[in-house]
């Protein structure tokens, strides 16, 4: 396979066309060398007869139609895997950039992965305590879940992600190892540095592998970054039986890279210029979470995305929400009122929580309490809307109680310290205390027995 082809037929953005090539296979990796001897990698994305279109990972700067040679590798993109990747910093396609030398591979893995057979999945139902009340009580994270954070520019999603990494009790009860796979896609240098410092300070750096594609790195590589990271996650989880938390940031930059490449290929866009296959593309990442038979490891994904224009109907958050198992939504107005973490609980949701909470997991009052908190907080919104029209003074006594409940709930339940790690019992008890601000006949989601056992008791404590 060492035939070399000289010259290109066309260069357009990150794409080059080559002609007269024999034996090229779809999706295979090619090596492109320019006259200065610099090597770059590319991927064949379309073949027609003896013509192929190649996507160049590092971009096409400096290329002319004559100054390059191309060599087919005969293989799709593979990256070296070994336990030693923990503690390392790699680029978007899995090459070390920390100066600590090559990775000695235990095996090579194709980055695209293969779909998990649905019958080989194990349904996730083990909850992860994050120590953050709004998450633990109302959008409980489950081991093996994909639960994104929908955020915006200037919001503390990075701080929240780090707090989750530090506090999450992800492997405690199983005696297994835990590790973090971190994929940075098109993020600023200081964001990457923030995470690196935070991991270092909390002493987990040796359990973290970072795949880094920064804002000024090539965008084709950005498409590979999460795939390389998830390949590592699968290796560590399903081969080494570790519990893996994958943080992927920023999915918005990733999707924008997909759009850029799509438009350079001249594809027909669907919404906002994004290609029609963005859903399938994102799904090919997000679905690489979960638990499988025959392995005791797990992959839990926390993708972070900055929602363009705070518009949750924008294709990136929208398609993400259609694939992930819920979402944690950060809210600007809470943030402006200095509530940390500014989690908007009504649009936030964990779809897997119902099977991982309650008796035997957390506590039996968890489900009814969560339902009631949601319902009551939804009424706070109605009361606020009304108050903004007629003034709080004019509200009925019950609505006034809702206003009070809303303020306290945001301050004491949603709000907590950046290092405050609450146990699930502290969280649940706090929830009952706050419900105490409302009259009992407003608690329409609770059965009498629950009211008797939990609500009434907390009243006495108060």
């Amino acid at each position: 396979m060492s035939v070399e082809y000289i010259g290109l037929n066309k260069i357009e953005g990150p794409l080059v066309a080559i002609e007269g090539v024999e034996g090229a296979s779809f999706d295979e990796i090619v090596e492109i060398t320019n006259s200065e001897g610099e090597k770059r990698l590319g991927r064949i994305i379309e073949i027609y007869g003896d013509k192929s279109i190649v996507q160049v990972f590092e971009g096409t700067e400096n290329y002319s139609l004559t100054n390059t040679t191309i060599r087919l590798t005969g293989k799709p993109l593979e990256i070296p895997m070994s336990r030693e990747i923990l503690g390392r910093v790699l680029d978007g396609v899995g090459r070390p950039i920390d100066g600590l030398g090559d990775i000695f591979p235990d095996e090579m893995r194709e980055v695209n992965g293969s779909p998990i057979n649905p019958v080989a999945r194990v349904y996730p139902n083990n909850y992860i305590q994050t120590g953050i009340s709004s998450i633990d009580c109302l959008a409980t994270l489950i081991r093996g879940q994909k639960l994104p954070i929908f955020s915006g520019n200037g919001m503390p999603h990075d701080i929240l992600a780090v707090q989750i990494v530090k506090q999450a009790k992800i492997a405690e009860d199983s005696g297994q190892e835990f590790a973090v796979v971190f994929a940075a896609m098109g993020v600023k240098h200081d964001v990457e540095a923030y995470f690196r410092d935070a991991f270092e300070q909390s002493g987990v750096l040796h359990k973290v592998v970072m795949f880094v594609n920064l804002l000024d790195d090539p965008i084709v590589e950005r498409i590979v970054t999460p795939r390389a990271a998830l390949t590592a996650a699968e290796y560590l989880a399903f081969k080494c039986n570790m519990h893996i938390l994958v943080i992927m940031t920023d999915m918005t930059s990733y999707a924008e890279a997909v759009r850029e490449i799509s438009s350079s290929k001249g594809e027909i866009p669907s919404r906002k210029g994004y290609p029609g296959y963005l859903y399938s593309d994102l799904a090919s990442l997000y679905e690489r979470a979960g638990l499988v038979e025959g392995s005791s490891g797990s992959i839990t994904q926390i993708p972070i995305l900055t929602v363009p224009n705070d518009d949750i109907t924008h294709p990136i958050p929208d398609l993400t929400g259609y694939i992930t198992e819920g979402q944690i939504v950060l809210d600007k107005s809470l943030h402006l009122r200095s509530v940390y973490p500014p989690i908007a609980i009504l649009p936030s949701l964990s779809r897997l929580m119902k099977d991982g909470i309650g008796e035997g997991f957390t506590r039996k009052d968890h489900v009814p309490l969560a339902n009631q908190l949601f319902a009551s907080y939804a009424k706070v919104m109605d009361a606020r809307a009304l108050a903004s029209v007629i003034g709080e003074e004019e509200l009925s006594p019950v609505d006034k109680q809702y206003m009070e409940f809303g303020r306290e709930f945001e301050k004491r339940f949603i709000g907590q310290g950046k290092n405050e790690n609450r146990s699930i019992f502290q969280t649940l008890n706090l929830g009952w205390q706050l419900l105490g601000l409302l009259p009992v006949d407003e608690l329409d989601r609770l059965e009498q027995s629950v009211i008797d056992e939990f609500y009434s008791k907390t009243q006495v404590i108060l």
Partner: protein, 600 residues
């Protein structure tokens, strides 16, 4: 899907010339036929011909095309993209082209690899066949020749395959046979003798012929109050469940698949999550069907082509599902199809269309989106089958509009071809009002056709109560416009009462807890008693108003709470407590009257 070795001699042979994702261009033969199955490359990946012209053939491949090269062979054996129909389908889980996922797991482990050719059903397993035909009988397509107990819940009726017609020449004795063995031979008019076994193939994109369509006058009973009572759907009907992410499409479909009174459920996970299929499998292997007392899995077929599985197979998955449904319908069964989500199917269509460089219509979807959707939903219906049996296919399709915007093409087209519209509402979901079906935006066009059935089989009151509820909910809606501006305090008492009764309807009746043992499924009788109880409360409360007694006194009595919680506190079989509850309402009202100086 059939396996290669059974296909015999190659009909057309060409080679790969172009590769663009799942779309392959073939040259070297002009004998490829539209919609036939082809085997692509050395690994024999399964594909289907989607367009033919004089220079090349276009093929969509149902598997990942990584690694294919120009020049690799492409072969066809002359059969259309088909499903294998035989005992062994029920209780099983397949991918979008009917490959059994359990067998794939045994062969390749946790991950799905490529180039797997497998028989859809177990070819070795022996089934207990009881014959219905005898030598000399006239048979044609659809004639039932034998019965086989396929699962505890379902008797498979072995039918004469398409294209076979004549006189039965030989029949085996009742006994145990596998699906591939010849059990009956048929002599045709031309004297040809055709061997018939329990297995047949049928093209997935062709509707199975029927005698005629019947009127759809029977409801699909779902046990879900908002559907049965407010938005009923007919057996043989078609319904759309549109909603933004997380509003409850999948949950609603799971609930229907669990509790509706169809005989057979075909559940198609089309481009959705892997875990959801795992969940259905796990739950249905444990849950008991209230109708038969058997496990739900014994009446369920699962088609799982999740979002990360090949996109062309996703396009095929809904046809695979409906073709299987039609097979069981022809046996005289009522089949309900859950398709989650038809939007993912439409996107697969769009993706393939884009790679073919077809002219896009709205939002990049091909212009034929609407006609394809129509063709799919038209395969629903209450049919008089060719063999004289009656059966139905009800299709319930989830729609996932981008941005939750119902004006997009898939939602709009689907709306034209379905007659029930269960519109899921983000705000209800945010407030955790489940099922988050918006009672004002949703509709059912089957109500007039179904009213006689409810009158006869439940009670004439059922539909009357329904109308009352709808009126109250409408009125609440207009009153809320005022309340939003000025609060509810200044409303006159009769309007306050409307709001309170509407609240009871919402909390006590429309909200239904899928995770509560009693509330998850509610029989029609109880639904009616619940409606009547709420109406009774309303009537009694109005009596107080007539006497100028403030409505606050009734609220304070706590009776509202009793009514709201009747869904949990009153059992699904023992309805006596309704009498007690109604008596309690009466007593409370009388007590209040007395307290206010009136005598009864």
């Amino acid at each position: 899907m059939a396996i290669v070795k059974q296909m015999g001699k190659a009909q057309a042979e060409g080679y790969i010339y172009g590769i663009n994702g799942p779309v392959i261009k073939a040259k070297g033969s002009n004998e490829f036929r539209m919609l036939e199955v082809v085997y692509v490359g050395k690994e024999k990946l399964i594909g289907e011909v989607i367009s033919v012209d004089d220079t090349e053939t276009t093929i969509q491949v149902y598997e990942d095309t990584t690694g294919l090269t120009v020049g690799e062979p492409i072969v066809s054996y002359g059969s259309l993209m088909s499903v294998t129909l035989a005992p062994g389908i029920i209780g099983n889980i397949f991918d979008g082209i009917e490959r059994p996922l359990n067998v794939i797991k045994e062969q390749t482990g946790v991950l799905i690899t490529r180039g797997i050719q497998l028989s859809s059903v177990d070819l070795e397993k022996k089934w207990d066949a009881e014959f219905i035909v005898s030598v000399g009988d006239k048979v044609s397509f659809g004639t039932i020749i034998a019965t086989v107990r396929e699962t505890e819940s379902i008797v498979n009726k072995v039918m004469i395959p398409f294209g076979v017609e004549g006189i039965v020449k030989s029949v085996l004795k009742n006994g145990q046979y596998n699906v591939a063995e010849t059990i009956v031979t048929v002599e045709t008019a031309s004297g040809e003798e055709i061997a018939v076994n329990m297995m047949q193939e049928f093209p997935i994109r062709t509707p199975r012929p029927v005698m005629y369509r019947e009127r759809m006058v029977r409801p699909l009973i779902t046990g879900q109050r908002i559907i049965d009572a407010l938005l009923p759907i007919s057996k043989g009907g078609a319904a759309a469940i549109p909603g933004g992410f997380g509003t409850g499409k999948t949950m609603t479909q799971h609930q229907l698949a669990k509790w509706c009174d169809a005989d057979i459920i075909v559940y198609i996970g089309c481009g959705e999550r892997g875990n959801e299929m795992t969940q259905v499998l796990e739950e249905f292997s444990k849950l008991v069907d209230p109708k038969t007392g058997n496990l739900l899995l014994n009446r369920t077929v699962l088609i799982a082509n999740t979002s990360n599985m090949p996109v062309a197979a996703r396009e095929a998955s809904i046809y695979t599902g409906v073709a299987i449904a039609e097979y069981y319908r022809d046996m005289g069964y009522h089949v309900a199809i859950m398709a989650d989500s038809t939007s993912r199917w439409a996107e697969a269509l769009r993706e393939i269309s884009g790679r073919l460089e077809e002219m896009p219509a709205e939002e990049g979807f091909p212009a034929y989106l609407a006609s394809r959707l129509a063709a799919f939903y038209e395969r629903a219906g209450y049919m008089h089958n060719l063999n004289g049996t009656e059966g139905s296919i009800t299709i319930i399709g989830a729609v996932s509009p981008q941005g939750g915007d119902f004006s997009e093409p898939v939602t709009q087209s689907t709306k034209r071809f379905t007659r029930c519209f269960f519109s899921l509402d983000k705000n209800l979901a945010y407030a955790r009002h489940y099922p988050a079906i918006n009672w004002l935006d949703s509709y059912s066009e089957y109500i007039d056709e179904l009213t006689p059935w409810f009158n006869e089989n439940v009670s004439p009151d059922f539909m009357l109560e329904r109308t009352k509820f709808m009126d109250i909910l409408q009125e609440e809606n207009s009153l809320m416009e005022i309340v939003k501006l000025i609060g509810s305090d200044i409303l006159p008492d009769d309007q306050k009462l409307v709001l309170e009764i509407a609240r009871i309807i919402r909390l006590g009746f429309l909200q239904q807890n899928a995770f509560h043992d009693v509330d998850t499924y509610v029989p029609l009788k109880k639904q009616m008693l619940m409606m009547k109880t709420i109406s009774y409360l309303y009537e009694k409360a109005k009596e107080l108003l007539k006497l100028n007694i403030t409505i606050g006194q009734l609220r304070e009595s706590g009776i509202y709470d009793d009514v709201i919680k009747m869904k949990y506190n009153i059992d699904n079989e023992d309805f006596e407590p309704f009498e007690k509850l109604n008596a309690k309402i009466e007593n409370e009202v009388n007590r209040i009257k007395t307290d206010n100086g009136y005598t009864n």
